[in-house]
Symmetry: C2
Subunit: 385 residues, 2 copies
């Protein structure tokens, strides 16, 4: 019995003057309207929220209350920046088990409530607490900077190649009214922006954005009974990895991504990603993360990610358009909202409702790739129409 996505919603990402629950409401209402459903028709609500930059420590309670799901939301899930995917999984598996016919996954994050210094003191802990974070002060940009320098040293990846990821992201986001940033930038601007953690500069980093997203999933039975047009979940993959960076086998990629992709590809019987997907959404929290994702997901060989973006292969018309809505880098990265915002993008594209950002469809199949921490968690979903 298949499970499909029948409705999606996404709030405007950015610095938002509203509460956590109001943000969620914006996405939920769009998703309900999209699926032509009322709250009463939803059997289960799964709320994804990390919450390290918000004062709301039991977010499912207030979000469900405000969105009209107070009788339908028995749990919250969290997997750092991959929380949205964990929420999709929880809704998916509840339907698959037969416990729900229609379920909503909500991802919401109020990121501008707690300041960065306070948040870093706690949020940085997804790394190895004692040694890396407290003793050496490694925060997320520093972790990804280690990946970037390793990739540069081993494969000759350049700062310009990384900059091209940011330029592409901003160019796409400029056409996406829901994106945090809607201004194009040049390679020179990226290279000239201030250094955050060498070699990553300001424009190599995703922003601190408030945002919410929602996806309504339904059983094949419910889809058919209602005569709906669903986007089917064809593959599910997840993995996790040590949080102790000194124990990682390598810095030039994320093992969790590789293992999650293998699991999803196995389930969906995908052997050649480039010949199977029309486009992909990947976790580009930093520009180097997108380059590593091309490789770890099998879009190009390990070490060739820099070339892949330089040749335009991840742009419209390339071998695998990636992050057509602007990615985490320019659309924004409200932690728990990110994984479900990827599903929003995939559904819009596969339905050919992406307007100026529409990709050409041939396989009617796409992939989402969502990472938590620095590869502590990884989730991959495959969607098909």
């Amino acid at each position: 019995m298949r499970v499909g996505v029948i409705g999606v919603g996404c709030s405007k990402f950015g610095v938002r003057e509203c509460t956590l629950q109001e943000l969620a409401f914006e996405a939920v209402m769009e998703a309900l309207k999209d699926a032509d459903l009322s709250q009463e028709e939803i059997d289960l609500s799964v709320v994804g929220c990390v919450g390290t930059r918000s004062y709301e420590l039991m977010p499912a309670v207030v979000v469900n209350e405000y969105c009209g799901f107070s009788g339908k939301g028995p749990l919250r899930v969290e997997a750092a920046c991959a929380t949205g995917s964990a929420a999709i999984y929880s809704a998916f598996s509840s339907i698959k088990v037969g416990i729900a016919e229609i379920a909503i996954a909500i991802g919401v994050e109020k990121m501008t409530e707690v300041d960065t210094a306070t948040s870093a003191a706690i949020g940085g802990r997804a790394g190895n607490y004692l040694w890396e974070h407290h003793f050496y002060g490694t925060t997320f940009p520093a972790y990804y900077a280690m990946h970037a320098t390793a990739h540069m040293a081993k494969f000759g990846t350049t700062e310009k190649q990384m900059a091209l990821v940011a330029v592409k992201a901003h160019r796409n986001a400029a056409k996406n009214p829901k994106a945090h940033f809607q201004k194009e930038i040049s390679v020179e601007e990226v290279l000239g922006s201030r250094v955050i953690a060498h070699p990553l500069k300001l424009y190599d980093c995703s922003p601190i954005s408030d945002g919410a997203s929602a996806a309504i999933l339904a059983s094949e039975k419910a889809v058919k009974e209602r005569g709906l047009d669903a986007i089917w979940i064809e593959g599910v993959g997840f993995s996790s990895d040590t949080s102790n960076m000194t124990m990682r086998e390598s810095f030039v990629g994320l093992r969790a991504t590789r293992l999650a992709a293998e699991m999803a590809y196995r389930g969906a019987k995908i052997s050649e990603p480039l010949k199977s997907f029309d486009f992909a959404t990947v976790h580009d929290c930093f520009t180097i993360a997108e380059i590593m994702a091309y490789e770890d997901l099998g879009f190009c060989r390990k070490g060739k990610g820099g070339e892949f973006v330089e040749k335009g292969e991840s742009d419209f018309g390339g071998k695998m358009p990636v992050n057509t809505f602007g990615g985490l880098k320019a659309k924004g990265h409200p932690l728990a909202a990110t994984g479900i915002a990827m599903v929003y993008e995939i559904v819009k594209q596969l339905r050919e409702e992406a307007g100026k950002l529409q990709v050409d469809l041939k396989h009617y199949r796409a992939l989402s790739h969502n990472v938590g921490g620095t590869g502590h968690f990884a989730w991959v979903f495959i969607f098909g129409r």
Copy 2:
């Protein structure tokens, strides 16, 4: 395809001088030994942790790392004080879907890291934030005090009847080496203890305990292949309710409990609870909560819960022995650990490994009932051997 529990572990509950991950380790190692498995044989680890009284805001990362599941733990779940049950559900549904054959649910809470005042300022938010919590100062004892006064006014329930719940809990806990409190108390001591929120006194309230618990679940296939003795999950029920107490239909019970029980009973085809279960574990965060649970779970008519405990019906030899290991009230209530500690108790009893606390078995079937907040979340599981 059924799912069964094949191994359980539980740390000593109490004020523990160790970290969150060390606590979890204690429970995990016992569960692995109980199931005769190594970490490598586990496909999935689900970590339940509320975290409002701990500094570890992404607990799954550190817990999985320390317990040897760094490659196996793609998510954390939370449902306030019902978090442990949500973790059981997540492991259960992952096996049921076929994504895992063997999964571990870990519930862990470090409660003595953040002081009560700080925690109340944030943790109390599972109530309606603006009106109840900030304006009127309602904390958890105050919420349950409202339930108690309503129950007394409507049904004549007495403070002595509530005290009897505490006396029973302490009597059982005194024989449980893992319990936080191991000292019997008298009705007079309960009635004479200081008032926390009238009519609830100190001994009507569960303590602030550190603790962890773990349960290993397996598919029927894995159970048979290994020739194991499993305790089967025969019913699953959940519900949630408004966090705005002014919108609740009544204060003399918890609607979420009733709905969760209905769902679980329907799934397991239970029509007469008293004739179906040998014993039950219920969510006695306050003595009045246990009395309401007798009624909401169908062990007696609404309003008769006080009488039920007074006549010894919830004690050994009664119609439905409840909380034979001491309950939240005396064994302790480390939020996320509680729901899985109930499974620990059920497995030990159904295997007839409960020693001095063993109940007589006839149906070889029992129930766990776990509440989040003041009935914001409720989970009911039915287990059978």
